[in-house]
């Protein structure tokens, strides 16, 4: 028989082993992208795979940034990045505000029609997107929004089914006694929302913010359909510049550009993930 100490040690070792193996598997894409982004073009995608390039070519990054700038007359990458950042901030703002309000209504409040409306909300997610494209396009055309950024951010201020569902699940897990205590202290429903629910739901709200950022940053179809000027493009749309019809794909530049595009998301996630794990346990309520 193992002693308790040994048991704990063994569990720890097993956990660490599993983590390392899985980490290796999950890190592959990133490592591969980094390696490819540093190679000269004729060394990319070789067989058998070459993990250490013969020659490290850092200039790929500056080439990727300025790709196409000669013909366009401006540096497209910077312009796209600016558009994407502004859009992302707007979407996050809209999404956090609207979804937390609606999630609260579905998760913590009792009102007539709630169940019915919630079922409807879930159902909207099950309708495949492609069959909505045509009527949605006509709708935005009638609003006069084609060629503007509005189709890409205005809807986030009205909530999204995914985030509402997500927040509802989290809000429902918050013990009723907490809000009831606040009501006894004379708090209004909005007061309860602001002073009890929101502080407790910080991890979930962070998740919503991160997902929204990711969604808006990576959204390809929306900008593709609704934007009509090259200078209004976003970074995800900008990546298509590296996929040529007859002249080949410059993999090294594509990977360098892709890495620069996902870098902000990784940084945001890295900072935000601390908030995921500092939930109720640190707010001192339990």
């Amino acid at each position: 028989m193992l002693s308790k100490q040994q048991k704990i040690l063994l569990t720890k070792a097993l956990q660490l082993g599993a983590l390392l193996v899985l980490a290796f598997l999950f890190a592959l894409p990133l490592v591969w992208m980094v390696v490819t982004s540093l190679k000269p073009l004729d060394e990319t995608m070789t067989s058998p795979p070459k993990w250490i390039p013969d020659k490290i070519q850092v200039s790929n990054y500056s080439d990727a940034v300025t790709y196409g700038s000669k013909e366009l007359g401006y540096i497209p990458f910077l312009r796209y990045a600016q558009n994407s950042v502004l859009l992302a901030i707007l979407c996050i703002t809209g999404s956090v505000i609207s979804n937390s309000l609606v999630g609260y209504a579905f998760g913590c409040l009792e009102w007539k029609g709630k169940r019915w409306l919630f079922a409807l909300t879930l159902a909207t997610m099950m309708v495949p997107g492609p069959i909505l494209i045509v009527p949605l396009y006509k709708l935005f055309r009638d609003f006069g929004w084609i060629g503007t950024f509005r189709p890409l951010w205005v809807p986030t201020f009205f909530g999204s089914a995914f985030n509402i569902f997500l927040l509802r699940q989290f809000f429902m897990a918050i013990p009723k006694e907490l809000s009831e205590a606040a009501v006894l202290d004379g708090a209004s429903p909005f007061g309860v929302f602001l002073k009890v629910i929101i502080p407790l739901a910080k991890p979930a709200l962070t998740v919503v913010a991160v997902f929204t950022f990711l969604w808006s940053w990576n959204d390809f179809l929306g900008p593709l359909l609704y934007l009509t000027d090259q200078r209004n493009f976003t970074v995800s749309l900008g990546l298509q510049a590296f996929q040529n019809q007859h002249t080949g794909t410059p993999w090294n530049l594509l990977m360098a550009a892709s890495l620069m595009v996902i870098a902000p998301v990784i940084v945001v996630y890295f900072v935000a993930q601390k908030a995921f794990v500092q939930g109720i346990s640190t707010t001192g309520l339990k």
């Binding site: 956990q15 599993a18 983590l19 899985l22 980490a23 999950f26 894409p29 990133l30 591969w32 992208m33 995608m45 067989s47 058998p48 795979p49 209504a105 998760g107 409040l109 009102w111 709630k114 909300t121 879930l122 909207t124 099950m126 309708v127 495949p128 492609p130 069959i131 909505l132 494209i133 045509v134 009527p135 709708l139 009205f158 909530g159 569902f165 699940q169 989290f170 429902m172 897990a173 918050i174 013990p175 009723k176 991890p203 979930a204 962070t206 998740v207 990711l214 990576n218 990546l239 993999w251 594509l254 996902i262 990784i266 996630y269 993930q273 601390k274 794990v277 939930g279 109720i280 339990k286």
Partner: protein
């Protein structure tokens, strides 16, 4: 009895979404439902043909093949991804040196746009010098034609979908923070083992989140499009990776049969609905809401 005041407050909080659905969803959803009963080619006005599209679907061998492919992929990838995501979240919910790095690492495959990743997958699963077969050969396993054999191609798609479990993992991780420490402390006093604590405390406590992820997983896998579209153009080999969303897209934008595509979309909607309801029913018995709603 709910008071009027409560109803008004509830509606007020939910009003952004009610408005949003009314403005941005009502018209498109109703239109597409209408299109599904018409013959419609985007540029020409729709013509009412009643149930024809739905009848045609029931006899369309390509659709039935795509539907069965989709259901197989869903049936395999949802449980596998759920299990993996929970395990990862549990592993990452510990205090350990460099844990932030691990958490970030596991999320990265979910961040990279599918199109950029597809190239990597093709390269890893390459039958002759792919990383995977190279690794397997070390254990004496013969090269597997991951991409060119109909059954293996499907398995490849399922395996790749597991790399994208990062989103679910993040949600579990956030959910785990809501499990009160006091429960674990109580469990420890009773002398419960780590596995017992996981089974009888952690899993029930995060069950609403599991339910959420399972339903989102079903919706996501039934609507899978980008990955097979980029990796297996046309659903090759022999349409073994042709999924409903691909056939739907082809009909809508390549074959100019928007009406037929819409009908397909609504059949997919029904399938999603049924599967979600089943999983809700199965899950409800085990789902535990702290709020006791």
């Amino acid at each position: 009895m709910r008071s009027n005041r409560q109803n008004v407050i509830g509606l007020l909080f939910a009003s952004p979404w009610i408005l949003g659905m009314g403005i941005f969803l009502f018209y498109p959803v109703i239109s597409s439902l209408y299109f599904s009963f018409t013959s419609y080619s985007i540029l020409k006005p729709p013509v009412w043909i009643g149930l024809s599209n739905y009848q045609e679907l029931m006899h369309d061998e390509i659709f039935l093949k795509a539907l069965s492919n989709t259901l197989i992929i869903c049936a395999a990838s949802v449980p596998l991804t759920t299990a993996l995501a929970i395990c990862l979240a549990l592993l990452l919910n510990t205090k350990r040196k460099g844990i932030s790095l691990y958490r970030t690492l596991f999320y990265i495959p979910s961040l990279v746009p599918t199109v950029a990743l597809a190239v990597l997958w093709l390269w890893i699963f390459n039958g002759q010098y792919g990383l995977l077969n190279e690794g397997l050969s070390k254990f004496g396993i013969k090269a597997v034609p991951w991409l060119t054999d109909p059954s293996w191609a499907k398995a490849t798609l399922i395996m790749i979908s597991m790399w994208g479990c990062g989103n679910a993992m993040v949600i579990y991780l956030a959910g785990l923070q809501d499990v009160p420490q006091s429960l674990y402390e109580a469990g420890e006093l009773d002398g419960a083992s780590a596995w017992q604590k996981t089974k009888s405390i952690t899993l029930p406590m995060i069950s609403p989140v599991i339910q959420f992820n399972v339903i989102m997983g079903i919706i996501g896998s039934l609507q899978t499009f980008a990955l097979p579209f980029v990796m297996f153009p046309g659903g090759q080999p022999a349409r073994s990776t042709y999924v409903v969303a691909m056939y739907l897209y082809d009909n809508a934008f390549l074959y100019q049969r928007m009406g037929y595509a819409s009908a397909m979309g609504w059949v997919l909607f029904l399938a999603t609905m049924i599967l979600s309801l089943v999983s809700l029913r199965l899950g409800d018995r085990h789902v535990h809401y702290g709020g006791g709603a």
